[in-house]
């Protein structure tokens, strides 16, 4: 069971918001880059979030560049999952590859700062603050396999090849 506070963001949060290009030189220094995570969407986020918190976006979260650094630093910052109404394709796949749960649900029902509980197995998100219970769209089986193995690298380490059934 994942527990934490909701940090709300709007629609179309791009990888430029998450991992700004001006920190390009920090891409080989991920802990340092993670200090700037989501900086261009919310300057307070990186310094004020607590490990376990959730990033809650709107539509088309993670659009733009293929930089895997974006989900990587969200995960490194200690975010337990990203919730959004929809995700951009490459960000979605990258998130699974780096072991970051990405959940599609109606995020309008979640308020900024709400306490959330997420049961990945049951597919349920509970907003403790307002008492709302949400279901999230199940991941495709291929992605569940990769996520359960801890990401693509671990998947390959474990099986020596793709083992996606």
């Amino acid at each position: 069971m994942l527990k934490g506070k909701a940090w709300k963001f709007g629609d179309d949060i791009s990888t430029d918001h998450i991992a700004p290009g001006r920190y390009f030189h920090l891409r080989s220094n991920l802990p340092e880059l993670a200090k700037h995570v989501l900086e261009d969407a919310d300057t307070e986020f990186a310094s004020n979030m607590s490990p376990g918190d959730f990033v809650v976006g709107g539509r088309n979260f993670g659009l733009g560049s293929s930089r895997e650094h974006a989900p990587t630093i969200i995960e490194l910052a200690g975010v337990s999952a990203v919730l959004a109404k929809s995700f951009a394709r490459i960000f979605f796949r990258n998130s699974i590859n780096v072991g970051l749960p990405v959940l599609i649900c109606d995020t309008d029902k979640i308020g900024a700062g709400d306490e959330l509980e997420v049961d990945l197995e049951a597919g349920i998100i509970k907003d403790i603050t307002n008492g709302v219970e949400l279901e999230f769209t199940p991941l495709p089986p291929t992605m569940i396999t990769i996520l359960n193995d801890g990401g693509l690298l671990s998947h390959i380490q474990k099986h020596g090849d793709f083992n996606l059934g």
Binding site: D16, G21, R22, R27, N60, L63, R67, T72, I90, F162
Partner: protein, 563 residues
């Protein structure tokens, strides 16, 4: 049921028939990464203990995002990439060689291939009927090592395009319009297939612009059938043997069909901070612009430079506006110099940056200041994209960018009708080469006639006839301007022939005088014969070379499909 292009290509690489929605493990032909994503891909491979890449010859690392490097950290990343590539036998496209998505299409990717790239605009390769798609570093790294990856076979949106572009409206306007229509997530997880008479008539440069921006609608790939235009492009790039025709089956199944008649389109501008925030030029006119940028994988090819150069030739950049120009590749840069576009842009007031991504990725070479406004030919205008979250970015075609640079505020390019009309009609003739040949022919004839004899005449005639023939051939094949140039050339040659004949007569007259001894006369005749033969041969060879140059130039600048 027939197959879409995506199903055909992925099926061929999975080794079995595949349909939309299925998961396929498919072989990959080409893997690319750039200086921002390559180091992470390499580190992942190191974690896996990979010692060998599946197909190192078709793994290319591009040093283009920070090129030349703007910081020591990035210089170290470049070194890290070079070392790894050397160890593995992979390729490196060095600093200054150009943008991955421009160079990969110029030099590597072919119809029917699968290409994965750790850069979202890898989809540009779809214009060559390649299943080319962007992925993260780990996915691409594993593709490099194993030569395969997994795909969810995408459903396809058929984008059926008809009509002729009105003057001042370009493929960039079409793709911005489409994204505005369906939204920045309108095609998430889908393949786009651009087809219809307008696409069939479109040059490769326009097709690349369309495929490049498929990802801005959320799509996985932006495919275009491989046809004769594709063939010609590959021929020009020196790999015509890699061409094969490839198109979707006529009974393929599409999730959605979107029809667009381009004759109804107007120049289009994307407003900050999303690509789908599109407006017609009428609404945008007058917005003050601090910096104009011509470049990026969307619009940095020679055709884009031509548009910009034709628009601004002889004019001056607006006084309070900066203009940054970045050619997409070294080849584009060289061609822009040959055709004079580079000089035109410098005289106009451009700041020239080495081939690469330039200011698009927000690292260097034109980061805007707080509150500043940019108009660029790139594909993204997200907040912070160009390195400053407090700046605004508008997206438009090279023609709109040029008109805007002239006036310092967003301007309707259709205001410059005369300039627009000259675009795409440029039959670039190497008149200098023709003149050089004519000059050399004249010199040869002069030298020869100085001590010639009667036997010279047929040889000189033969040489000039051969030259005439070549020039006529060039004229017949390569358009009205080439014809004009060839006519002039013919005129020069016939004048030379007539001069030569006069000179020969004169020489004969003077030599007929009984002063010269018969032996001297004989020797002079022999020498002259030899000289003429050699000179004629040389002249014909040079003329042939000039004609080839004309052929090459004109082939590259066939009249555009844009009317």
């Amino acid at each position: 049921m027939g197959k879409t292009l995506a199903e055909k290509i992925l099926g061929a690489h999975a080794g079995n028939d595949v349909s939309a929605g299925e998961i396929a493990i498919a072989s990959v032909d080409i893997c690319i990464a750039q200086d921002g994503t390559g180091p992470l891909a390499i580190r992942q491979l190191e974690k896996l203990g990979i010692e060998k890449l599946a197909n190192p010859d078709r793994v290319v690392f591009f040093l283009d995002h920070s090129a030349p490097s703007s910081r020591k950290e990035l210089s170290n990343d470049h070194m890290f990439i070079r070392q790894f590539a050397k160890k593995m036998g992979a390729r490196v496209s060095e600093v200054g060689k150009g943008i991955c998505h421009v160079v990969i299409n110029e030099k590597y990717v072919n119809p029917g291939e699968v290409m994965i790239g750790a850069d979202s605009h890898t989809c540009t390769g779809g214009a060559l009927a390649s299943f080319a798609t962007g992925m993260g570093s780990t996915d691409v790294g594993i593709g490099m090592a194993f030569g395969k990856t997994w795909f969810r076979v995408p459903e396809t949106f058929k984008i059926y395009v008809t009509g002729e572009f009105k003057t001042g409206v370009f493929p960039k306007d079409l793709i911005l319009h489409l994204i505005g229509l369906i939204g920045a997530d309108g095609a998430t997880y889908k393949a786009l297939e651009f087809c219809g008479p307008t696409i069939e008539a479109m040059d490769m440069s326009g097709r690349f612009t369309l495929s490049n921006m498929a990802v801005e609608a959320g799509a996985k790939v932006g495919l275009i059938a491989s046809d004769e235009t594709t063939h010609q492009f590959l021929d020009d790039m020196g790999r015509g043997d890699k061409w094969k025709p490839l198109e979707a089956d006529s009974d393929a199944s599409y999730e959605r069909v979107i029809e667009i008649d381009v004759s109804t389109l107007v120049p289009t501008v994307s407003y900050p901070h999303t690509v789908d925030n599109t407006h017609s030029i009428d609404e945008a006119v007058g917005i003050n612009i601090d910096q104009v940028f011509l470049g990026t994988c969307t619009n940095s090819r020679i055709e884009d430079w031509e548009i910009f150069a034709k628009m601004v030739k002889g004019k001056k950049l607006a006084p309070d506006t900066r203009f940054v120009a970045v050619p997409g590749s070294e080849d584009v840069l060289k061609e822009a110099m040959v055709r004079g576009y580079y000089q035109t842009l410098v005289e106009f007031g451009a700041v020239m940056v080495a081939p690469g991504c330039g200011p698009c990725v927000g690292i260097h070479a034109g980061v805007p200041g707080d509150g500043e406004v940019c108009l660029t030919t790139q594909n993204r205008n997200f907040q912070g994209r160009m390195g400053n979250p407090n700046a605004s970015i508008y997206l438009a075609s090279p023609a709109t960018a040029a008109a805007t640079a002239i006036e310092g505020a967003i301007t309707d390019p259709r205001k410059y009708v005369k300039e627009l009309k000259s675009i795409g009609k440029d039959q670039v003739i190497d008149t200098e080469a023709l003149k050089a040949v004519a000059h050399s022919a004249q010199k040869t004839v002069e030298r020869v006639t100085a001590d010639t004899v009667a036997k010279v005449t047929p040889k000189a005639k033969e040489a000039s006839e051969k030259i005439e023939k070549l020039a006529k051939k060039a004229a017949a094949e390569y358009g009205p301007k080439a014809f004009k140039a060839a006519k002039e050339f013919e005129k020069t040659i016939s004048k030379l022939a007539s001069d030569a004949s006069k000179a020969i007569k004169e020489a004969i007259r003077s030599r007929s005088k009984p002063k010269a001894a018969p032996s001297t006369k004989k020797s002079a005749s022999k020498t002259a014969k030899k000289t003429v033969k050699k000179a004629a041969k040389k002249t014909v060879k040079k003329a042939g070379k000039a004609v080839k140059t004309v052929k090459k130039k004109t082939a590259k600048t066939k009249p555009s499909s844009r009317k």
